[in-house]
């Protein structure tokens, strides 16, 4: 039952072309909506019914987010797609852009129609040259075919869509930093509230969704919210793209129903590389706390199951580590990432991420001190929940996860000044 939504056309040879997309009924939902003048509320209700939760990491119910927009208030509104895909381990949105750009475009136009927005932007990660060009080409095709522009199919509804290439900052994936970046400012998150639904791009009501979230919309509208919901499990409707990487045989992106056992996903990815033993899994991108391998093998891939295990499904980036990995080294690498990517705006993250990294680095290089683990524990509580955006939490959570499950490895490093593993 794989590849039902965002990857439903993966069997075609050049699925990114308009003609191939249309050969499978692409843009028919949009055409029907415009022709029948489907009431926007019923679209939002359908999305609500589907149980679709944001695929960008936070898992916020998409239909609910859309319903926050005062769609009848005067003034410009926007639909923004987040294709920044910067979370380490995540590499699914680029495949949507490369292989199924029209489904994203169709999803964005429907979103625009639903919330009364006439303009959309797709913010694409700076390094994504090929996906960007694919998406641009698709925009051209869609415009020429009358799916973008003024008075779409004589409905009186206008929708224009542009892509915007970022410049390589992870923080610009955070929704409000992304908005600042589109506005031409330095990519720094805004304090929320107000949320983008009230004060978004250029201060106007805006919905911002992940690429995968928006690309799921046409299928939901075609087959119905109920159908989508039933693909998955309770609280986790639909299927989802998982980017699986690490010490496995076939890293890649797989679309599977939510609730699929992790073991099955690992199987699809060819199992562990060279038959090595699974040590741990980061189930939802580098910000998600790590879960020991044995425990992970018992879990299903859905929001609730992973949350119950003390982590999060996040963006669906699954990083599998085998027993040759030193956890201190792994954490050092991750902490370096957050240290490097903090925007520097708020004190706990600006100062804390650097300090975290330095302490972990010190332990890794054999200079750790006995009090360092307590220091790390304490520091993470002073960063998490105290910052403007979730990057602070993202920097703290992996440390907390590591110290919870692999504390002895850190202690070993401190006392023996070398690694337990190698």
């Amino acid at each position: 039952m794989a590849n039902e939504v965002c990857f439903r056309n993966m069997d075609q040879d050049r699925p990114w072309l308009l003609e191939q997309y249309r050969s499978r009924g692409g843009y028919e939902v949009l055409t029907r909506i415009l022709r029948e003048k489907t009431p926007p509320e019923s679209i939002i209700n359908e999305v609500k019914a589907s149980g679709l939760r944001g695929r960008g990491g936070a898992g916020f119910p998409t239909g609910l987010k859309w319903s926050f927009i005062a769609r009848n208030a005067p003034g410009q509104k926007y639909v923004v797609c987040n294709s920044d895909e910067g979370e380490p381990g995540t590499f699914k949105d680029r495949d949507v852009l490369r292989y199924n750009p029209h489904q994203l475009i169709e999803g964005m136009v429907i979103a625009g129609y639903a919330i009364g927005a006439t303009r959309g932007y797709n913010y694409i990660r700076g390094e994504f040259w090929e996906p960007y060009e694919r998406f641009e080409a698709a925009l051209e095709e869609a415009r020429a075919a009358g799916f973008l522009g003024r008075d779409l199919m004589g409905s009186g509804f206008d929708f224009e869509l542009h892509s915007h290439l970022g410049a390589g900052a992870y923080i610009c994936g955070e929704e409000t930093a992304l908005l600042e970046s589109i506005e031409g400012k330095k990519g720094q998150p805004r304090y929320k509230p107000p949320f983008p639904a009230h004060f978004g791009l250029y201060g106007q009501p805006t919905i911002i969704n992940n690429t995968e979230s928006l690309a799921s919309i046409p299928v939901i509208m075609e087959k119905g919210g109920q159908w989508f919901k039933e693909l998955g499990v309770e609280n986790s409707g639909g299927s989802k793209l998982f980017s699986i990487s690490g010490n496995i045989k076939n890293p890649g992106v797989f679309e599977i129903p939510l609730g699929t056992p992790f073991a099955e996903l690992l199987e699809m990815a060819g199992g562990m590389k060279n038959g090595s033993k699974i040590k741990a899994v980061i189930p939802g991108g580098s910000s998600a706390p790590i879960i020991p391998g044995e425990q992970m093998m018992q879990l299903t891939m859905d929001y609730d199951a992973i949350a119950k295990a003390g982590s999060m499904l996040g963006s669906g980036a699954v990083i599998v580590l085998d027993d040759r990995n030193c956890m201190v080294k792994v954490l050092e690498r991750m902490s370096y990432f957050y240290y490097e990517e903090s925007c520097g705006q708020c004190t706990p993250c600006r100062e804390g991420t650097g300090w975290l990294y330095r302490v972990v680095h010190r332990i890794e290089t054999g200079h750790g001190r006995p009090e360092d683990l307590a220091l790390l524990d304490d520091m993470t509580t002073k960063i998490a929940g105290r910052t403007i955006c979730a990057l602070g939490d993202a920097a703290a959570m992996p440390v907390q996860g590591m110290l919870k499950h692999f504390r002895e490895e850190f202690e070993y490093h401190i006392t023996h000044k070398r690694c337990l593993v190698s």
């Binding site: 240290y339 004190t347 100062e351 403007i388």
Partner: protein, 772 residues
């Protein structure tokens, strides 16, 4: 929910009422509940980046920043609960890890918000053992010292720059712990309000360059005062150590300067300690100046004035600085009138006195009302540099949509959107006539005016605005056809339903009138006194080479007098050339007195330090002179007593801009050849600021030069940097050519009040240029 709805919240168990949606920190501040903060500032946008103000709110799992959390009904807040304190202390620890903690050698030590708050929320030892961050300093100009290693990244300075000063130079570059405050390219921060970032910076990252390392905060005594330059009369705190003004800070006064002051008000105190401060009386003996004692000097003045007066007081004239106090004005005019002279004036930079002037000219509205304007037309004013705080108020109005326009002979560098009609001084009159005509005015030159689209637009903006004003500035006052400008402005304001306002030039231009320091019946005004030699003159606070509309003529006229007595706080070349006796007087901060500001507010102040050397407050000098001249009514023992007397004379006069206007005047400025525009640069306004060393190093302290646009330069065969001989009447000056695109065709900008242009004639008039 309406915005005005009141809600009740509980903070630390105390019940507080507030408007729904007010920020929590504003509510607690008003109630005197202290929440630590760094990035929050009541006049700046909310950044919520320092995370120092985190408090616990019931039912919310995470602590919330009080500076960014609006209050709502029933909210329960704990500012010192374990969760709140843990959050605050956590932030403090992070703030301190990279902070130098060498407070004893930091200029902010003792008045640092970080130091203060660390006392309450910091630990006594640091757990951070790695190397601390070091950030290179940058040179951002002569007024502000940087020590960016101390920066805590609150971005107050950046927001101040963007939101208040209207400059975009300052920004935060870099990310994470590499984030730095700086100018994007190496550049000075040029704004007439720049010094306020010193106050705004909570730490010692931005400090005062002139004050740097000269005193510790706890050695300073704070004394209240009123700013002595423009007509805003900003509220000041003078910081004094051992009888010396060490620095100047703003004192909050929402109705006047809010919490800001101009750089001129902040840094001019340096002039008090310039090398040419006059500390002993001087008399000229056989052409040489010799120091003497007060008695001899006062006798010399009394004798000199008596002799010059002879049988008619009319042979005497008094020229007073518009920065004198009301008490000084009052006694000076009383002295002159006692001697039988009605020749008294302080309008030294005005040349056209044909129009009847209002009895009590003023801004026409309160200072705070400028914020609320929907439209304004400024005539002959560089308000940003003439009256920086009023400029800031106008900018606030502009940012909320007011249509601001200017009719000026120079294009201004503005920090908001405005319409600028830039024309030669003669052309300005035509523009004004055209706007008047567009508003249905008629008569005189209005009838022949050619009205273009832009004139119609300006007229409509004023006419349709709910709150509009027409303001006259310093360049208008200096215009040879000021009478016409006033008449036209009156018609424009009247026909468009706008308030007519004057932007009084100096700190006490309004007070001078109220004290009666104007020519009486048949008395001579400043121009007449400076054109037709009188036998004797009394000058107070005036440097004739810099402070008069036509310095060459002023010097020549004064040079022909039999006797010139001067009261001055400084030695001064031009003054010494014409005077016979110079009496040293107390300067700003050294005397008590009263200024009346642009909104007609009488603001009295006391002296903060003793007068320098043997100098004396001018009111005391005038009083003794009155005694020596045997005049009645000179026995006041305090400035308050003089004030009371002056108040009686002024009566209960209310500010009033009405006058019999009219435009039936001949145009005196033909403007056929090249016209000089002699504006007075911001730091050339008066003797004190001209001696403020640091201000004189700023970009705004422009040097004497001859500035023309590229077209005029090409026609005259001149290039940037060439030397030219400027001829005006029978005077000349050799000046450097600067190509300046802000000067209109047919004009040359030769600023007044500067060494090098003091040999020239009227501020606005015909000149010729010849390559030297």
């Amino acid at each position: 929910m309406s915005d005005d709805q009141m809600v009740t919240i509980q903070v630390d168990g105390r019940e507080l009422k507030a408007k729904a949606g007010t920020l929590l920190i504003e509510v607690t501040d008003a109630a005197g509940i202290n929440i630590p903060r760094f990035c929050y500032h009541k006049k700046l946008s909310i950044a919520a980046n320092c995370r120092m103000c985190l408090v616990e709110v019931a039912k919310v799992p995470k602590p919330l920043p009080a500076c960014a959390t609006p209050v709502n009904e029933g909210m329960q807040v704990y500012t010192r609960s374990p969760l709140a304190l843990a959050a605050q202390k956590g932030t403090m620890e992070f703030l301190l890890i990279n902070h130098p903690l060498d407070c004893p050698i930091c200029d902010q030590g003792g008045e640092c918000e970080l130091q203060d708050i660390a006392l309450g929320y910091g630990n006594d030892a640091s757990r951070f053992v790695e190397g601390k961050r070091v950030v290179p300093d940058r040179d951002i100009g002569p007024l502000i010292a940087t020590d960016f290693t101390r920066c805590i990244h609150c971005t107050r300075c950046v927001r101040f720059g963007a939101e208040i000063a209207g400059i975009r130079e300052l920004g935060a570059t870099g990310r994470g712990e590499h984030m730095e405050i700086g100018t994007y390219i190496e550049k000075s921060v040029d704004s007439e309000l720049s010094g306020n970032i010193i106050d705004i910076c909570p730490v010692g990252s931005l400090t005062s360059k002139p004050f740097l390392y000269s005193a510790r905060a706890w050695e300073l005594v704070q004394r209240k005062s009123i700013a002595p330059h423009d007509s805003v009369g900003s509220s000041l705190n003078l910081h004094v150590r051992r009888n010396q003004v060490m620095r100047v800070h703003p004192r909050d006064n929402e109705a006047v300067n809010e919490c800001w002051i101009s750089d001129r008000d902040r840094f001019s105190y340096e002039g008090l300690y310039s090398a040419d401060r006059l500390t002993r009386p001087l008399v000229k003996k056989s052409g040489n100046w010799v120091e003497t004692d007060w008695q001899e000097a006062l006798e010399a003045v009394a004798q000199g004035l008596k002799r010059a007066r002879g049988t008619s007081g009319n042979r005497l004239g008094a020229l007073l600085s518009p920065g004198a106090t009301l008490e000084e004005f009052y006694l000076a005019q009383k002295l002159m009138r006692g001697l039988g002279s009605e020749n008294i004036d302080f309008r030294l930079r005005q040349s056209d006195f044909r129009a009847e002037e209002p009895a009590y000219p003023w801004l026409g509205q309160t200072i705070a009302q400028l914020d609320e304007l929907n439209a304004a037309l400024l005539i002959g004013s560089n308000i940003r540099k003439e009256q920086p705080i009023l400029g800031h108020r106008l900018r606030k109005a502009a940012l909320t949509g007011a249509q601001i326009s200017f009719i000026n002979p120079l294009e201004l560098e503005l920090n908001y959107h405005a319409t600028q009609l830039v024309n030669s001084p003669a052309g300005m009159i035509s523009d004004l006539a055209a706007v008047a005509k567009a508003l249905g005015g008629y008569g005189g030159l209005i009838d022949s005016a050619e009205v273009s689209d832009v004139h119609h637009r300006l007229a409509e903006q004023l006419r349709t605005a709910e709150r509009a004003t027409v303001l006259l500035g310093n360049i208008a006052v200096a215009h040879p056809d000021y009478a016409l400008i006033q008449g036209l402005a009156r018609i424009i304001a009247g026909n468009s339903g706008s308030l007519l306002g004057y932007l009084p030039e100096a700190a006490n231009s309004v007070g001078g009138r109220l004290a009666g320091a104007l020519p009486g019946n048949d008395g001579s005004n400043a121009q007449e006194m400076l054109s037709n030699p009188h036998k004797g003159y009394l000058l107070m606070g005036v440097e004739p080479g810099f402070d008069c509309w036509n310095p060459a003529r002023a010097m020549e006229t004064l040079g022909q007098a039999e006797f010139v007595a001067a009261l001055s706080a400084f030695r001064s070349q031009s003054l010494e050339q014409v005077a016979d006796v110079i009496l040293p007087i107390a300067a700003f901060a050294e005397t008590s007195g009263t200024y009346v500001n642009a909104q007609g507010e009488w603001q009295s102040f006391s002296g903060a330090v003793a007068p320098a050397g043997e100098s004396r407050p001018a009111w005391k000098v005038l009083r003794v002179l009155g005694n020596l001249l045997d005049l009645p009514g000179f026995d006041q023992v305090s400035s308050e007593e003089i004030l009371a007397e002056a108040r009686q004379v002024a009566g209960d006069r209310k500010p009033d801009n009405s006058a019999d206007g009219g435009v039936a005047y001949e145009r005196l400025l033909a403007g056929v050849g090249l016209t000089r525009i002699g504006d007075v640069p911001i730091y050339a306004l008066d003797p004190l600021v001209r001696r403020a060393a640091s201000l004189q190093k700023t970009r705004d302290a422009i040097e004497a030069s001859s500035r023309i646009n590229a077209r005029e330069a090409a026609m005259a065969g001149l290039a940037d940097g060439d030397k030219v001989v400027v001829k005006q009447d029978k005077n000349s000056a050799k000046l450097r050519v600067v190509i300046d695109p802000t000067v209109p065709d047919g004009c040359v900008r030769i600023p007044a009040g500067l060494v090098g242009t003091d040999t020239l004639g009227g501020q606005i008039g015909d000149v010729t240029l010849e390559k030297a």
